[in-house]
Symmetry: C2
Amino acid sequence: MSQEIYHHTFANGLTLLLERMAHVRSAALYFLVPAGCIYDPPPHLGIASVLADLITRGAGPRDSRELTLALDNLGLDRDESVGGIHIRFWGATLARNLPRALDIYADILRRPHLPADEMDAVKALALQDLQGLEDEPRQKVLIELRKHHYPPPLGQDRRGTEAGIDSLSVDVVRRHYQRLFRPRGTILSVAGNVEWQPLLDQVGRLFGDWQGGEEPVLELGAQPRPQEHLSKETTQTQIGIAYPSVPIGHADYYAAQGAVHVLSGGMSSRLFTEVREKRGLCYSVWASYQTFKDRGSILCYAGTTNERAQETLDVTLHELRRLQDGIDPEEVQRVQAGLKSSLIMQQESTNARAGALASDWYFLGRVRSFDEIRSAIDGLTPEGITEHVRRYPPRDLTIVTLGPQALKLSA
Amino acid sequence: MSQEIYHHTFANGLTLLLERMAHVRSAALYFLVPAGCIYDPPPHLGIASVLADLITRGAGPRDSRELTLALDNLGLDRDESVGGIHIRFWGATLARNLPRALDIYADILRRPHLPADEMDAVKALALQDLQGLEDEPRQKVLIELRKHHYPPPLGQDRRGTEAGIDSLSVDVVRRHYQRLFRPRGTILSVAGNVEWQPLLDQVGRLFGDWQGGEEPVLELGAQPRPQEHLSKETTQTQIGIAYPSVPIGHADYYAAQGAVHVLSGGMSSRLFTEVREKRGLCYSVWASYQTFKDRGSILCYAGTTNERAQETLDVTLHELRRLQDGIDPEEVQRVQAGLKSSLIMQQESTNARAGALASDWYFLGRVRSFDEIRSAIDGLTPEGITEHVRRYPPRDLTIVTLGPQALKLSA
């Protein structure tokens, strides 16, 4: 399948990407702005989330209400979210409405009002988002897992802290915006029925003269305590496990993905089979791969009854370790079938493609073609994955549990 | 945009639908089997969920493991779920793998092993799914809202009861399967790069001689107590509100959808603006439309701090009632833009189209064309929606709350 992919990096450092999809009528846009929550200063944890909410409350010639109306008038199905590295803005609509949506996003990124009189509502919402976690033990254990697994601030959560949110004045938020919102490191990707030259011209007009901001320096702290039990009178016990893997771009990257899919890539995968299907230990169990530019990790989750939590932890750890004993050729064939099927699905979604373009550019400085990915998937072998797992076995485990009782860690 | 839609109802009552999408490489399949949880007999609440799990654990020539392997080998991204009316099976993969997937689903629907030795694991999982609800107050309040809003068994939840799950033997599950799994009322829809004639021939071979099963008789009980507070020491208070609307197929259907979208169809919608953006009352608030064949409902949700729960309920109810005072032309234009944009997105997803075909057939006995839907959306007017809301105002409210303290109901 031929792909039409374009890219241009402007003199100010902003990168524009397009995948032209001639057979669709929609277009999706995706902005990555390098102002994620790992850059939240320690006295102001939660500031990226407050900024991401406040920034859409009026920009350029429009006040908060007019801005929302203008985007809804375009039928743009959109959202923003705060990740570790980036604040992300995305949306999809009819391709012919894309230019007007981009005009508005240029206002949001470059000329936001950050209105003082909306700070109370925005802070109240941020506090609720944080407090709501106490009623959501599943999410809570995964957030705590990342905080214990990564050296700070890499494991910081977007929800921040009560003290951090309380500390925020509109001036503090405006300075944070001034410092971090900048063209260098910002990526705009578009996928859909869109022509390159008019898009390039428009984005040049909208963002070409954008200047300012600074590259924040990130100093990593010491690795936190790798094992933690959060005591809570819940009906179920939540279990999170993490250990180091290779980052994307590493020669072992596809082998690492292959290993995770052997564990968790379908209903025949090992965790699903051994923990859920055979023993009925828990309704939800999975492993996933997560990467920063310089480090990758495997994260696992299981939620189970309090009575069977110890057995669930033991069986899960056993499956993680057993990967080193070897992998069947049939397991690799199934992983290949699943990964290739996902790749085809991604090719048919403008939202998925816009996200993938931006992610590739951030991590690799280029966009991988389908042919490249398919050929890497075809290159997976039982021996290759097993050798990778022996080089990067499950060790230096971070284990966080939440429930009425702590579990025994045989590790 | 031209559409290629095919349908055939076999002599035994099974309906096959296809939307041919020539520009994609994937295909999605979607089965609706009329064996949802409202047909769970009172002593066996939860039986549909147990059956939906057990039925994929071996069928035709394959045991449980072989069946899962065969589907994963096809790269089929799939799941099953239990709704009120139907048990649903769906999946998507490369179009060329569809025929082999259908062969396997014919075994699952017609020749399942329903193995006795997997009952313990399946029952354990069903119990965990039920017990896990106690740690998920958001889901809990919505389940209780439906139980209080609909006459039984329409509000029954798929998770059943502990007593119901405990009561199940493999023989009871097998009899339930024999009684409810049947061609009449079963719908199979396919969307993707698939030719009609070979599909029709294959499905005829696989399902044409399927017989048996009976049409279950549903007797509705008395409407339960419409107002309930569930006392629980949570950090947030969960609020659910429901009231009657028209069913799909009713002349007012699109007006009802328009009204829900004025309330909750985008970031400029009334609930989002008044409850969340202006007052910062709650992070999540929405209204949605739900339909059975003979009755529709509007369901609303808000989750907020305990301190602001009363204000959140009052403001939400005020917004529901205020619809009758009139709707701006601009609000209707935005609803139209949003609905049409969603329609375009749906046209580009094989999964979404397969689901929509089956749903249309179940509710309407035909598939609506995009032109028909678009023209109905274009026909929405402020007057039309306002008149509808006056005919079907928010009354006979069901209100269920969950949190440390009950709220005052001014209703």
